[in-house]
Amino acid sequence: MADLRVNIAGVEWSNPVTTASGTFGFGREYAEYFDLSNLGAVCLKALSAKPRLGNRSPRIAEVNDGILNSVGLQNPGAQHFIDNELEWLRQFDTKIIANLCGSTVEDYVEVAEILGDKVDMFELNISCPNVKEGGMAFGTDPKMIEDITSRVKAASKVPLIVKLSPNVTDITEMAKAAEAGGADAVSLINTLLGMKIDIKTRKPVLYNNMGGLSGPAVMPVAVRMVYQVRRAVKLPIIGMGGIATGEDAIEFLLAGADAVAVGTAGIVDPYAWIKVRSGINDYLDRNGYNSVKDIVGKVDING
């Protein structure tokens, strides 16, 4: 059994596997399938200062090897989470990451203030393509990334992960902006904007017309971006996008991720998170590594 512990921005995780925000609710549903203490961290669905209703259904469309979603960040608000979910979650031996969303910089600061230091880490969701008012704009403009990162950082001492959008020309610019703003880590990728048309009705499947692509279909893009970001910044990286097996996760670690998140694969198989964790361990054991840290960034690049 290899040493699976990783340290992400000063926070010790028992292993490098967490949940991709928005695919795991606040943890209650999957706690019926496995013990959440098996996860290095649990990343919660997005929280905003005020409750959000989200978009109309259909909010999900199946595509080849993946899905599109347009949930629209439906959530009951940060205070509701604190009052109804937090204590329950704390029974598990795992770190808690709150995913923050909002439509303005002030919104993000407000959620961070409401949550205070009640969770172990924050993940700034500046990249969700579903929010008309600015979710997209924050994540695609380096100046805004730096600004929002430094503002949230100033409002809170909780280690801050900035989650990057792949819907940009150069992901390294965004990662550098997060680093300049004082981010403690980056995570990537969020979903890629996509569209699915039902050729029988000639209408988009999603009520919202467009939505975020995730699942195995996006994995090569995500691995490439993790590789690029690894070379651009010093920050710890949480890699995600299509991971379904231990082997998938190993690709991300080799590309330079310090930890990985699993999302869509769990929507199909409730045990995906556990399988990825043990798959990582199997690879390490099979190849004679003592620690997961030994393979981070160890891709042997050609030329």
Partner: protein, 252 residues
Amino acid sequence: MLCKLAFKSELRQGLYNFIIDCPEMAKAAKPGQFVHVLCGGSAYLRRPISICDAVNDRFVRFIFEVRGKGTAELAKAQPEQLLDVLGPLGNGFEVPEELSGEAVLIGGGIGIFPLLMLAKKLPQKPLVMLGFRDKQSAVMIREFSNAAKEVFVASDDGSIGHKGFVTDMLKSKIASGAKIDKIYTCGPVPMMKIVADTAKENNIECMVSMEERMGCGVGACVTCTCTMTDGSRRRVCKDGPVFNGAEVDFDG
């Protein structure tokens, strides 16, 4: 969970009857709940299918129509093959201990299947109203007859039973002065909307089973919501699929 496909038959062209061997699920299943089935092939997501019946605390039965690639793939499964199935999922129909009048079950198309188990579990035999496209698509009438006090059939083209909407039969039953305690319905949204409205006008409690595109099926991804009359959005897979008809905004 992996369950063996114990029995398979084709009820009519493109409509499959599956019985899976899964004692845990069979014991826990309640009418109106569903199973979430991995179909194989290139169908990435699971497909939600209502539990039609649970037999001998060992078998779960479901019936599905081939619509697209997932159900087409599932239809190829052979007896003895293992299927990856989650369930029973969701909030099913509330089964009262006693009824103060008739229970009326109204199903349309593929919505009739979950009503069979409900009919068997109710404390007295219900009135069952089934709506089909035409005679060819009409199935399971005999099975429902065994579990019902009376079965009424309607079809769009009149090739079997009453020509017109299944909801017409509900209205005429109410007009005839029948004392109805509860209405349960599953089928196309326009049909359920009329049923729910009719129930409301006549002060009858009505449970509706909603359908929506799903991801996880267990309540975590929040992709399957329907809109409620209070403006909130609730998860069909976890808070439903059965809701109080008066609380659903069918146009939301």
